[in-house]
């Protein structure tokens, strides 16, 4: 249902009418818009956490290369989060510049592969960032779902 609605946005241009007739059901524009924004917003929400995600992955996997990271994230989130190439490498380079990551290069088959791993500082920072993340999730939980917090 969700995908169906978002697909609609790509194919149907909404004009003046306030609602749409879709396979016999009335669908209000605001619903469609909300669904669409949800989908876009998701990726935006993840974006701020990209560094934490990378650090966490490297903490559990010792050393990884760029493509491996994108695949691993896809696998772990069952396709919900796709790290784009244009965002991953800048993030990796930033972490390297900050001294949190170290690089290793190995020849694999007929090409060179660059592996990233945590430095000592990186390991410490990972713990910090994960703690921050937990705090953040807790706060959001309180804000978004006040009932939950009363329990």
């Amino acid at each position: 249902m969700y995908q169906e609605h978002t697909k609609l946005l790509d194919t149907i241009s909404i004009k003046k009418s306030k609602s749409l007739e879709v396979t016999g059901k009335q669908l209000h524009i605001s619903t469609i818009k909300r669904l669409h924004i949800n989908k876009m917003g998701n990726q935006k929400l993840y974006k701020g956490s990209l560094q934490t995600i990378i650090l966490k992955l490297l903490e559990t996997n010792d050393k990884m290369y760029g493509y491996e990271i994108t695949q691993k994230v896809k696998e772990l989130t069952k396709g919900e989060l796709k790290i784009t190439e244009g965002a991953l490498y800048p993030a990796l380079h930033k972490l390297e510049a900050d001294g949190l990551l170290d690089v290793e290069v190995a020849k694999v088959g007929n090409r060179l592969r660059k592996y990233y791993k945590l430095t000592e500082n990186g390991t410490k920072e990972t713990a910090n960032k994960l703690e921050e993340m937990q705090e953040f999730l807790k706060t959001m939980q309180h804000l978004v779902n006040p009932k939950f917090s009363l329990e």
Binding site: Y89, H93, N110
Partner: protein, 235 residues
Amino acid sequence: MKLSEIQIENLYKFTRQHYVYHYDVQTELVDHLANDIEQIWVEHPNLSFEDARDKSFKKFGIFGFMDVIEAKQKQMNKRYWKIIWRFTKEWFTVPKVVTTMLIFLGFFFAFQIPYSEYLFLATLLILITFEMIAVYRIRKEHKQKEKKEEKIFLLEAMLGTTKNGFTGVTFINLFNFIHLTRFNFSSLNIYWLILISSVITFLCIIFYVSNYVLPQKAQELLQETYPEYKMVKNL
């Protein structure tokens, strides 16, 4: 299906065509594209190499490799300045601090001579001329390297060219500033002279480090920065 040697070479050329000029940045992107192409072939075994490559490239978005290049340059800039700082610090420890003090005192007393600004302007002019010659020579060398399609690392290029851009611009700015404001050093009070002499001494050290010390240590610094440097250059 794995990519052949020729296809890997083609990917290097492809990154070059998309404005990635430095070998270290190219290498990471080539490995990424290669992995992705192999993955695409698992799903669409009949796709040609070129089509699979273009499909993979599209995932980088409309700006292509630009974001990656920019981030890499920022990272390397940070590294470059860290290296400069590492060598500059030496000039504030014994025994080099003696030289630093002498340079400082030299400027400090020279500024107190009447019309010292003309002396200073003349020195700057000479330095600018030397800079221009150095820049010209390095550009020529660089072009030759490019023609030979040598593998140039980002930091390698920075050790060679950035410094000249930086010092050259600093000198010209300093020259213009003094020239246009008709600065008169000998009429300034002593605190200003101390401040100006300190800044200029500091600039001199940075100039010396980036122009003479770093190029001399280039091999060492590159090996320290790039684990693959030895492998690639067959050292």
